[in-house]
Amino acid sequence: MTDLSYTSATGETGITSSGEVRDYIALLKPRVMSLVVFSGLAGLLVAPGDIHPILGAVAVFCIAVGAGASGAINMWYDRDIDAVMTRTRGRPIPMGKMPPAEALSFGVVLAVFAVALMGLAVNWAAAALLAAATLFYVFVYTMWLKRRTSQNIVIGGAAGAFPPMIGWTAVTGDVTIEPILLFALIFFWTPPHFWALALYRCGDYAKAGVPMLPVVSGPRETKKQILIYTVLLLPLALAPWWVGMAGLAYAAAALVLGLLFLAGAVAVWLDETDKAARRLFGYSIFYLFALFAMLIADSNSLGLFGALAG
């Protein structure tokens, strides 16, 4: 075995050996993956109809692997800006722990594997959605929008909104209004979530030349946009109850969680420091986990609350 030498996108030459197992795991962005897996699982559990538990587990596994593969390809493409940003410079490629090409091939192999397995084991409609999500994240968000427009995470957020739709389609084999609502929920949740982060990482993004909204339009405009999206999210979170997917317990939880989210957004609007933005970022993660947990617990296809009450 010999060490490998490579020149990164930023022009620096590094001597590095092939990465360790934990570096490959880091390429999969495990923390992001947990939210993706949970929302995918929620889509699968609330969908009407039956799926064999093993095939359900395979579907969730494919969603996780597909998301991880997208993360690895993203780290390959963004290695130049990752090396500049404080938040990302500890990633395996900027740290010189593995050659970029290795991350790319790892990501591509995993993406193909996830889509093929989903198609062969579950159904091809879910596989097509998984492929669409991966391609959208890599080509539309990472390669096209991220470095060009301040609306990068608004449009790019669609990639992260796919998992519940994929989970639903794994069970039903088609796309109806309900999974589209779940898609919309994450789509409208993404901007306030990422802009809260961007508010207190603004300098980092500016240094890397990523045109996030706070960098391009300033904190005031960003806070206004956070507020707008949070207001839009509030009624949207109630929609699953409105269309009959979930019961009143879910509606009550969605209302309370949404009002707290709105209170956080107002606090960000009023706060001159970045304290409220940090709090909102943390809360936004809790919000999505809690909302989907309630959706699972009170969905009309599972009816856990109904069963407990009855």
């Binding site: 092939s18 197992v21 093993i54 095939l55």
Partner: protein, 52 residues
């Protein structure tokens, strides 16, 4: 000179053994992944054939 050569040899050995250790853990992980994949394909085939 002889001492320096000996030092270099030891360093080389330590570096190589570290690399071998890393390579070994990667090989084990890959073997587990391939084994897991075979089991997965087998189980999925059984489920699909039983009409699941």
């Amino acid at each position: 000179m002889a001492v320096m050569a000996e030092d270099n040899k030891n360093e080389d050995k330590a570096g190589r053994s570290d690399m071998h250790k890393r390579q070994r853990s990667k090989n084990i992980a890959l073997a587990l992944a391939i084994g897991g994949f075979c089991v997965l394909v087998y189980v999925v085939s059984l489920v699909r054939m039983s009409g699941g």
